[in-house]
């Protein structure tokens, strides 16, 4: 007889997985069809939709944006996360630590669409950051108004929004290290910086694993921020794969949208599954 606990765990997981799997499969099936505004009755066309969509400029352009954003966010998010976590760790007061930590993870607690809106105002050349720059005698920075600074501005906002999660996991990792180890290092005359790179970071491998996984997932599936910052789906300088997929859907190229969605799912799966199988499994094993 199955134990009650097993049923309670398995039943919702099974139902949820079934729905998810159904949608993924339905999505994949539709991507082999020709279904759009111009062809309202889906017909099977094999890989033709894929070959059409892959050859478009927007596809490579948006995929490149997604990959660039993910790589940059994983790298900068980890570095900044470690840096912020270290600053918080070496604070003497518990109160100050929890206050600053709440500030750092605050962007995560509000909707990314709201974060995007806040930054839309901050990037306004008359009333935002530029207002301050002009006041202190510096030149205006074009932010979202110039095609060359648009993408870096998006990167800046995503880093601002998602670094908190890396900082949170690194701080948890640091706090988990036996305090006497750090005290022993202090007695040995070790500088805070050396304590960080010789003791805290090497003993926080789990934090690195989980922070990297989450940063990748958050940045690769990013939608709200570029959508709000570019004011829609069509700005090719800020278009990520998700935006392109949504764009195809809004113009009723349904099969092409599902083909892009399937490819995004595949790429994420190809990266995340081996990662989950190797490192995350090691992490959750007792």
């Amino acid at each position: 007889m199955m134990k009650k606990g097993t049923i309670i765990l398995v039943a919702p997981t099974a139902i949820f997985s079934a729905i998810l799997l159904y949608l993924v499969i339905w999505n994949a099936v539709m991507s082999f069809m020709n279904w759009s505004l111009l062809n309202s009755k889906p017909t099977f066309v094999g890989l033709e939709t894929y070959s059409i969509v892959i050859r478009t400029f927007q596809f490579t352009n948006s995929l490149l944006h997604s990959i660039e954003l993910s790589v940059i966010l994983v790298v900068i998010g980890n570095i900044l996360g470690i840096f912020i976590a270290a600053l918080l760790y070496f604070l003497n007061s518990n109160k100050a630590r929890s206050t600053f930590l709440s500030i750092v993870i605050y962007p995560l607690s509000i909707s990314m669409a709201v974060n995007g809106l806040i930054w839309l105002w901050l990037f306004n050349i008359h009333i935002g950051v530029d207002w301050l720059l002009v006041r202190i005698g510096l030149p205006q920075f074009p932010w979202l108004s110039s095609t060359s600074t648009m993408f870096p501005s998006l990167v800046l906002v995503s880093v601002w929004a998602y670094t908190g999660i890396a900082a949170l996991f690194y701080l948890a990792g640091f706090m988990n290290i036996d305090k006497t180890i750090v005290e022993a290092a202090r007695l040995d005359g070790t500088s805070a910086f050396k304590i960080l790179y010789k003791i805290l970071i090497p003993n926080s491998l789990n934090s690195f694993i989980i922070a990297t996984a989450l940063l990748f997932l958050f940045s690769f599936r990013i939608f709200d921020l570029p959508y709000v910052l570019s004011g829609g789906t069509t700005n090719i300088f800020l278009q990520t794969s998700e935006l392109y997929m949504y764009y195809l859907f809004t113009v009723e190229y349904f099969s092409q949208a599902t083909a892009v969605a399937t490819m995004i799912t595949l790429i994420a799966t190809i990266i995340i599954i081996p990662y989950a199988l190797t490192v995350i499994r090691r992490w959750i094993r007792r």
């Binding site: 006497t180 180890i181 290092a185 040995d188 070790t190 500088s191």
Partner: protein, 353 residues
């Protein structure tokens, strides 16, 4: 190599709600081996952390030789400038570094060449007999080896003061004696001042020249371990520094009476606590003709056990629930009545307050 003067040191936590140390005064002489004994929660670790500089006294002053290192909530000399080697209760080895790197770690913070570091690490590793495991990680070492690596890390930087915080409590019982002997030998070879904190009197007897007993943050007695063993100021000190029978009795003209037992001592209060160490109790079926032992009455054997090659016999006085245990080289069956003798000058009396 350093003299430590602790003057009126108190430490409070949580805005005065918890008093960890209460006006502690002690001088620890240069090169002395000093022990701090106390139950858990008595402030032992806080005391040691204040000496190390990891905590600051709320009030009072701390001197190393003539140098004021901390005073009234202010850290004047930080821990890294106090020339302290410390062995933590958990040993606090760096898990990501090999034994060699662990021991070399303090030296890498000084301006020292690679060869010089290698030489010093190997030297201390040889003394502590861990030179064959230097390229192992802490998790690959036995408890005893880990403890010696921690000791080596503390000693390699030539400290003036060696602090040991319950250094043997994580070791197998059979390894503790050799570890204690090693610590004492290394200390006398280097002449470093030693402060050992423990709840185990065996550590104190094996290592310390002098011991201070901490109870609820107060230093209640300081002296040679054997003096404290024989002349404790309270029953609590007596039981901290060794096994003891604790009996509460009524004071009469003939002494303190507990059931059928009568201890011929005089005390001014109504009720008193008699402390008598197990080795100062002798049970016999026949009369003993020896002036150093006095008969205190009859008792009944309650239970008999076996421990360390001796029989541990627990008796109760007739008409009393109190218990007295002692060790004997021959068994006595439970339920039997025996004569209870105690060594004449070893009865400890404490007023019951």
């Amino acid at each position: 190599m350093v003299r430590i003067i602790v003057k009126n040191v108190s430490k409070v936590f949580k805005k005065g709600k918890v008093v960890a140390l209460d006006n502690v005064n002690i001088n620890i002489e240069n090169g002395e081996r000093f022990g701090i004994l106390g139950p858990s929660g008595a402030g032992k670790t806080t005391f040691m952390r204040i000496i190390a500089g990891l905590d600051v006294p709320s009030t009072g002053e701390l001197y190393f030789d003539d140098r004021l290192v901390a005073s009234n909530g202010k850290l004047i000399v930080p821990p890294e400038d106090r020339k302290i080697g410390m062995v933590f209760q958990t040993w606090a080895l760096y898990p990501n570094l090999t034994a060699f790197e662990n021991i070399a770690f303090p030296l890498t913070n000084m301006k020292m060449s690679k060869e010089e570091i290698r030489k010093r690490v190997e030297e201390v590793a040889k003394i502590l007999d861990i030179h064959h495991v230097l390229n192992h990680f802490p998790r690959e070492l036995s408890g005893g080896q880990q403890q010696r690596v921690a000791l080596a890390r503390a000693l390699v930087k030539d400290p003036s003061l060696l602090l040991l915080d319950e250094p043997f409590s994580n070791l197998d019982a059979r390894m503790r004696d050799s570890a204690r002997a090693l610590v004492k030998e290394v200390q006398s070879r280097l002449g470093v001042t030693l402060l050992v904190v423990s709840h185990d009197p065996a550590d104190i007897f094996a290592i310390a020249d002098r011991v201070g007993v901490l109870v609820k943050g107060k230093l209640v007695q300081v002296g040679k371990p054997e003096d404290l063993y024989d002349n404790p100021v309270s029953i609590q000190v007596a039981s901290l520094i060794g096994e003891i029978n604790e009996l509460e009795g009524k004071v009469t003209n003939e002494g303190v009476v507990i059931g059928s037992l009568r201890f011929p001592v005089s005390v001014s209060s109504d009720r008193a606590i008699i402390g008598i160490r197990p080795e100062d109790v002798k049970l016999s079926k026949d009369v003993i003709k020896d002036d150093s032992w006095i008969l205190v009455g009859k008792g009944k054997v309650k239970v008999i056990g076996y421990q360390g090659g001796l029989f541990r016999i627990t008796i109760t006085p007739l008409d009393s629930e109190e218990e007295i245990f002692t060790y004997s080289d021959h068994p006595i069956h439970s339920g039997e009545e025996v004569l209870v003798y105690v060594r004449k000058d070893k009865i400890k009396v404490f007023e019951k307050n």
